[in-house]
Symmetry: C3
């Protein structure tokens, strides 16, 4: 098997990921998907390495997914529990990270309620020439790369189960619905989906749409040349759904109500909630995604969420383990021969 090219020490943001990067992640994750179909799902890839879950913002779901991915690669996992931690004793976040560094962490998975914390830690680790990799597991309202990458694997697998590939995304229409402005999931998905050639249609109430994705949007030199035409905003759900191949709806934080950004959950559901009926405007075989946890009856009806013909929510969770194994593998080994994956 050919060598995998991989030159990111950290995975902090997808804003500068290239199609080659996405291709590598998807191909590696597909290999691990095959591992996960075996009787013994463990591989010795990270035997003797230490993976640290530094979840300053608690999350059982994402933390469990990373923990399982690391254990299936035979790594030792340390979980940092903020409740009982030195943070309450006045230690800085950087001091906490450096403590785990000094203990021997090889990879740090970091979630924090503030934007940029994983980047700050990564910068410090680089300054100290440690070689330790940082994986952003969600920072503020900024990015959530592993979520967008597991969504990517999910989409590619649906489009071509035999040989999942990012090429199959070219020209597809994907609607992202809901609280875009506060969503790190939406931000990371916008980078990955447009880079792979899909067109992304954002839909939500005007108060929940981000100004930065309006007309004239330009992100970076690695942008696909026609990015502007690939990213469209709507305040009307039906326009976004029109002919969509996939619809991703986002979790609505209940505090948006107290912040007076929304009138009521009922009204939100009436305007932006997904249901079988609303999906009639989409492509005939449209599928629905949600990063979970779901507010049933708000973002989506229970019937649609539980419809295994339409809902990819379970598959997203399953893709999460394979994708995170791939990311830990790529960071932890620098992308050696992919033959290693399966021994």
């Amino acid at each position: 098997m050919a060598e995998t090219r991989w030159n990111h020490r950290h995975i902090l943001s997808l804003s500068r990921f290239t199609p080659t990067d996405y291709d590598t992640v998807v191909n590696t994750a597909v290999s691990f998907d095959e591992v996960l179909s075996r009787r013994n799902k463990k591989v010795p890839t990270l035997q003797g390495k230490v993976v640290t879950n530094l979840f300053f913002e608690p999350s059982t779901r994402t933390r469990s997914s990373f923990e399982l991915a690391a254990k299936r690669l035979s790594a030792d996992v340390l979980n940092f529990a903020p409740g009982s931690s030195s943070l309450t004793k006045g230690e800085t976040i950087l001091d906490t990270a450096k403590t785990y560094l000094a203990m021997g962490a090889d990879i740090m998975i970091i979630r924090h309620a503030a934007t940029g914390v994983p980047h700050a830690i990564a910068a410090e680790l680089d300054r100290l020439k440690t070689g330790v990799g940082v994986l952003n597991a969600g920072d503020g309202q900024h990015e959530h790369p592993s979520q967008a990458l597991l969504d990517l694997l999910t989409l590619c697998t649906v489009l071509n189960p035999e040989k999942p590939s990012i090429d199959s995304l070219k020209g597809k229409k994907i609607a992202i619905v809901g609280d875009i402005i506060h969503s790190r999931v939406a931000r990371s998905n916008i980078w990955s989906l447009t880079a792979c050639g899909a067109t992304v249609h954002l839909a939500g109430p005007p108060t929940l749409l981000p100004p930065e994705f309006g007309a004239g949007f330009q992100r970076s030199p690695v942008d696909p040349p026609d990015l502007q035409r690939q990213l469209v905003q709507h305040t009307d759900l039906d326009a976004a759904l029109e002919g969509a191949d996939f619809v991703m709806t986002l979790r609505l934080q209940r505090e948006r109500m107290t912040q007076h950004l929304l009138p009521s959950l009922r009204e939100y559901h009436r305007q932006f909630g997904l249901s079988h009926q609303r999906l009639q405007a989409c492509a005939p075989d449209v599928k629905v995604l949600h990063p979970a946890p779901v507010n049933r009856g708000v973002e989506i009806t229970s019937e649609l969420m539980d419809d295994s013909e339409r809902s990819l929510i379970s598959q997203q969770v399953t893709s999460g383990v394979a994708t995170r194994m791939a990311l830990l593998y790529l960071i932890g080994t620098g992308g050696q021969s992919a033959a290693d994956i399966g021994q």
Copy 2:
């Protein structure tokens, strides 16, 4: 060694367990007891499998026991921590279970303060044809099967240390004392002990005795034919203790006082607390059990609890690990050749 017959995908309730089922559990647990006496106590039985502890109702003791059992079978263990979970974000219990299913859980160990939650999850997993097994680690005031099964192993081992067998329970008198009505431990023990041929005498204040075990009690077609004579209720402790071979006393929840079900702890202890003196009515070699944690000086005197000649409390904990290894083995492998246990 003969094939083990085992056809329960889940262990939710003991109400329909047959003597053969109890026999299989005890024999398998005895095999693991032997494993635990070796220098290296790990076996590769569940290598690569994922065991999830979904403890919606927290419990360090029972969770640790299951965790150790799973680790000694070489499984990977994921602990679900309700405090920092999506439940606070409005996700349903079933959604949580399905998330761990989608991550790749092979066995789910479930504890919940409400009756029937493990059954509901098991039913959904069956509906989805997942093959995943559910182990009820305590649901409301309903059942706690693994506790009753570890009690069974403890009793059989005391009665015949060389070759523990459920046959030795036939005709024995076992008193269960205290807050029967709220006790899932008592309920599960009633099924197992009567099915194995013992006679069970319940004793407690009238407010803490369950109406359903009164005269005319009938449970199911697999009942021992003379069950009615095997289950007797008393509001007087001495009648229950008269000639008893074993006395199991139950934890008294302090909130029973605020619920006006009891006058005072002191009065409760005077009437139903176990002591060396009270045991004089029992068989000469009577032994005492308690599911723990113990309110010293309430259900039982400290002297009796710490008397290793009388108290089986430590042995119950030790039996717990072997019993839970047996249950995970039986659920996880469907009861293959028992020769597998020891390799």
Copy 3:
């Protein structure tokens, strides 16, 4: 390699440790340091053994260090979480420990806010002839042996990187600064440093200096004969720093202010805070230690803490894992041939 002599079943206090004991710990830890420089940092020494972290007083940092040390020795680790435990249900600490004993714990690592808890548990385990070892991970304001031993490894490694040895400490001056009276770290370090031939100068506000280390101090028959001259108290920082080879500053608990033991953090920092300037009184190559977590700008300036030429704080954390592997190895195997360490 020669046999290691080791005859402590528990590590509870350093007050009676001999120079030979310290020598054994340092040599064993150095061997594990070598293991930790390899690609695969795991050794099978404690395979199949169970190490229990009973942290009645929560601590992410120390618990993680012990957990990683145990995992690198291939032990199975059980973490006890006091928040969700039976302690809230009225169970005694000793009952909790005996529960983990009955489950099969081989080593118990115990931290508690009250002095003497690890000793009480160890005494009970001995009375029961269990052979289980107890490691004190901090008890009240009494002792924190593993911290002092990792400090010892750090000092010996700095003084002689090629061949760390306690001999190099002879005649060195070490200042310990701050809240001595409440510090278990200071107490344990006083035993180890004086036993290895160093002179210890304590400095702090009069309200935070312990009376028992005043003139005429005598501890035990194994005291170095000239201990009195080896332990000096100052209420003036500069006298303690004068010519010091190492300065260890201690964490200041903020509640000391509300207890009226200190006027203000600012005033404390002015009098006892370490800075590059204050260090000018020390030996030219003085190094600084802190048990962490650090209150930046209180005990020490941020500049000094982050100066890798002066600060040993990261190295202390790194030494912690190797030292704790050594302690678990010595307790868990009784100090077999050191050749075992590296297989």
